[in-house]
């Protein structure tokens, strides 16, 4: 049996009280609950405080460039489809620098789980506005207020992701459950995680979120209804819905690849005789 001690990583260098701690705890307990050993997972992260998470747990780790965790995560998943691949980003990483990859990974519906630590601010570079900062939010780089934020939930749904959820790092059990469902889902599973930055975002605090988040699970709601899901995606204010906002069985990119139908690429023996046949086509 996998125990929580199997996931004891390096000591985090996050600020005390950081929202990231809740995400780390929720991820570790999800992996333990699912009885997944560390060597079966691959954590691919980007740059930012979120990008450091893989070092603070255990598993195979590819800490990639800013904005780029998704492409290497996809490459690794295709190379070894038996790996449980989890990509990890912050809001700047996923929706700013990595926006194009996010859009197209959702569109192609790759079979990976994507955790986005969304604190609506840049933490690592010390407090600049992010693509999800609220309209009018004042920071050093937006002295006249931030522009319109992106809506990652709506973006993921209309782009074609087959699992779109929002979690809150202040509700670890709920988040852990979402992560388990995201891992179990076949297809691109986005979990956008509301995560207060205690050092630089004094607006969207734990308290602020606690007053607003409401669990979709508590309501009657058909999450495979794309239109209803899109409506939920636009609710942001007095109420902020958390939980699975959209989930359906959609075609998965990896299932379209004939090479993967015979097993993981990495386990297939290479046979040069098949190349020999190709040469004849050029005579």
């Amino acid at each position: 049996m996998v125990a929580i001690s199997d996931y004891a990583g390096l000591k985090p260098a996050w600020c005390p009280g950081c929202g990231n701690f809740g995400i780390l705890k929720a991820l570790n307990s999800a992996l333990v609950d699912m009885n997944i050993e560390p060597h079966r997972i691959l954590l691919v992260s980007g740059i930012g405080q979120a990008g450091k998470l893989p070092h603070y747990t255990r598993g195979n780790v590819f800490n990639s460039l800013h904005g780029r965790p998704v492409p290497p995560a996809i490459g690794a998943k295709i190379a070894n489809s038996e790996l449980i691949v989890i990509a990890i980003s912050g809001d700047g990483d996923a929706y700013g620098e990595g926006g194009n990859h996010f859009l197209h990974a959702a569109r192609r519906n790759h079979d990976i789980t994507y955790l986005v630590h969304n604190n609506q601010i840049y933490g690592l570079t010390k407090g600049q506005a992010s693509p999800t900062s609220d309209f009018g939010f004042i920071t050093n780089t937006t002295p006249y207020g931030a522009a319109n934020p992106v809506n990652p939930i709506a973006l993921a749904i209309i782009s074609g992701a087959s699992f779109v959820a929002r979690g809150f790092s202040g509700d670890i059990d709920h988040l852990s459950d979402l992560i388990k469902k995201g891992i179990a889902h076949r297809g691109f599973a986005l979990i956008d995680i509301l995560q207060p930055c205690v050092s630089f975002n004094h607006k969207n605090t734990f308290q602020w979120y606690r007053e607003r988040v409401c669990k979709l699970e508590d309501r009657k709601y058909d999450r495979s209804d794309k239109k209803a899901a899109l409506e939920k995606a636009f609710i942001w204010g007095k109420e902020i819905p958390i939980g699975i906002i959209y989930e359906d069985n959609l075609p998965v990119y990896e299932d379209q690849l004939p090479a993967l139908s015979v097993g993981p690429l990495i386990k297939q023996k290479f046979n040069i005789r098949r190349v020999k046949k190709l040469l004849a086509e050029f005579i």
Partner: protein, 571 residues
């Protein structure tokens, strides 16, 4: 008398220039001839002016040559533009009923009612190019059945190949009845079976022969046909090609697949490579083996999309910030492109670094005959791998400090070892660190890999008389043109030899310094504006090669061009 004969097909995009040119090249290759065919085309789908040159010889050829023996002119521009290139007694096949022939002062124009024949025999005006092809084969009295076989192989549908053959036969018979004996006679030479390959095909075959299982790429001329070939064969060979959203995704996805343990590559051209630069460094610091094909074209920015240049050498030497090892290879010929690609995958694995292969439009889209590749010579070396049979997986450290700088590789999920790596500076385990000592140790470890890699570099190719007044120095795809220029110059009593590099980094400084210091007179010959190899030679050896034959008009060198430039200089 040796055979060295040039066909050319000229016309607008959409008139079937490429198709007729390819078929001509193929029928002569099937007949045991050596063929070199290059393409000159504009960046448009319809219109403009394109040509396809096919050089047919009874000995090995690796370059295009001046002088056209038979021109198939599908439009008026082709006549106007290429008439000055016709040899004495050359023939221009054109449809005098449809296009103006221009002046006939060379006595070379031969009007054939191409369109009329196409309509009569196939009821399809689109067959004009094939009628002309038949006419050209008839002028040299070639065996038409050879074409029939080629058509049957090319077109899956019997009716398509039959229609093409009927068109070709119409042109063939017309010439036989009216213009028999106008040109020299060609018969199939031998049964020797050679492959007719483009540079991109050679690279694709090299990659699959090396066991490449993954490619991610974004289409860009002149590299696109590599990703298309790999995609087309992905079912047969159980490999994956992902057409991604941009070049940034391409290189990062390639790195992800390689980290997970499969051989992986990407292919692009210069400005696509600009977007990939961050990935070169990522592969460098995470020590992930990847192969990057840069099919060069003139720049900067979009430059001349469909034309050729060797302008990326200094770029790929330095692309990315800070210091880390890389390898740069530049195939000399289309056959060499196959072997260089196999080699690139081995070096990438053994030294765990990015390997860049520099080709260019000229090499990428030219066709040449190549002896059937001997796959038994393909050796696959994955380098040092971590074995859980002999080691405790808990002890595994992806970036372990070793004497050679090479840390054994393990792959995520295949065993119990955890494979950790980071684009931040990291410790031996792969976790990020800011420790000064660990940083220094990791930089030194990575750079140490070059010591063993340098030993893999073979001596640059030498050709021509050992003692010569002049040494011609080149790299990459200019090999064929320079090689032939050496032959021509030596025949004309100018003693020259050549030094050619297909491995550029690590740079074989000692061998090059030795050659340059012994030559009385050296020239670098490069398809770029600033003599980028000359700059590298200067940096690596201290020698200044001031004689430079540079061409940056987007067109490839020919032996004749080099010969004239050297003769002018030597005089």
């Amino acid at each position: 008398m040796p055979i060295d004969f040039n066909f050319m097909v000229g016309g607008e995009a959409g008139q079937g220039v490429q198709s007729a040119g390819f078929l001509l090249a193929k029928v002569f290759a099937r007949g045991g001839y050596h063929v070199f065919a290059d393409q000159d085309y504009e960046s448009r789908v319809r219109g403009g002016h394109n040509f396809f040159r096919i050089r047919v010889s009874d000995s090995n050829v690796n370059a295009a040559a001046e002088g056209v023996d038979i021109l198939i002119a599908l439009n008026g521009d082709s006549i106007e533009l290429h008439q000055p290139e016709m040899v004495a007694h050359g023939i221009i096949v054109y449809d005098g009923e449809k296009i103006k022939g221009g002046s006939d002062d060379h006595g070379s124009l031969l009007s054939i009612p191409l369109e009329k024949l196409a309509e009569e025999k196939t009821a399809d005006r689109l067959m004009i190019n094939t009628v002309a092809l038949g006419a050209a084969l008839s002028l040299v009295n070639y065996d038409l059945n050879m074409l029939n076989d080629v058509l049957k192989d090319r077109f899956e549908k019997g009716e398509v190949s039959d229609k093409n053959f009927a068109a070709a036969k119409a042109g063939y018979d017309y010439v036989q009845s009216k213009h028999k004996g106008k040109s020299r006679k060609f018969q199939p030479l031998s049964d020797t079976k050679r492959m007719l390959l483009t540079g991109n095909e050679a690279i694709s075959l090299g990659a699959v022969a090396a066991g490449c299982k993954f490619m991610a790429a974004y289409p860009m001329t002149p590299a696109s046909s590599i990703m298309e070939y790999i995609a087309a064969k992905s079912k047969n060979l159980d490999l994956v090609m992902v057409h991604v959203e941009d070049e940034i995704a391409a290189i990062n996805m390639t790195i992800g697949a390689a980290y997970a343990g499969v051989r992986a590559m990407t292919a692009t051209s210069g400005s696509g490579l600009c977007l990939m630069v961050e990935g070169i460094g990522l592969a460098g610091i995470t020590e992930t083996p990847i192969v990057i094909i840069d099919a060069q074209r003139p720049g900067p920015a979009v430059g001349l999309p469909t034309r050729t240049e060797q302008g990326d050498l200094q770029f790929v030497l330095h692309a990315h910030h800070s210091d880390f090892p890389r390898a740069i290879l530049a195939p000399a010929t289309i056959e060499d492109a196959f072997w260089v690609t196999v080699n690139a995958f081995n070096w990438a694995d053994k030294y765990q670094l990015p390997v860049i292969i520099l080709t260019d439009q000229h090499l990428a889209s030219s066709h040449t005959t190549v002896d059937l590749l001997d796959l038994s010579q393909v050796k696959i070396d994955h380098g040092i791998l971590f074995s859980e049979k002999h080691n405790d997986p808990l002890d595994y450290m992806r970036h372990r400090l070793t004497k050679s700088g090479i840390s054994p590789r393990a792959f995520p999920g295949l065993g119990k070892a955890l494979v950790v790596t980071d684009c931040d500076e990291h410790d031996e385990e792969g976790h990020l660190t800011e420790d000064a000592g660990e940083r220094t140790a990791q930089v030194q470890k990575r750079m140490r890999k070059l010591i063993s890699l340098e030993k893999e570099i073979t001596t640059p190719q030498r050709y021509g008389p050992k003692k010569a007044e002049t040494t011609l120095i080149g790299w990459g795809s200019t090999y064929g043109a320079i090689h032939e220029a050496v032959d021509i110059l030596c025949r004309e009593d100018t003693r020259v030899n050549m030094l050619h590099l297909n491995e550029l980094w690590p740079f074989p400084a000692k061998a090059v310094a030795d050659a340059v210091s012994k030559a009385r007179n050296s020239y670098v010959i490069e398809n770029n504006a600033t003599g980028q190899l000359a700059q590298l030679i200067k940096t690596a050896t201290g020698y200044d090669v001031t004689n430079q034959i540079l061409k940056y008009d987007g067109r490839p060198f020919t032996p004749g061009y080099i010969t004239q430039a050297v003769q002018k200089g030597v005089r």
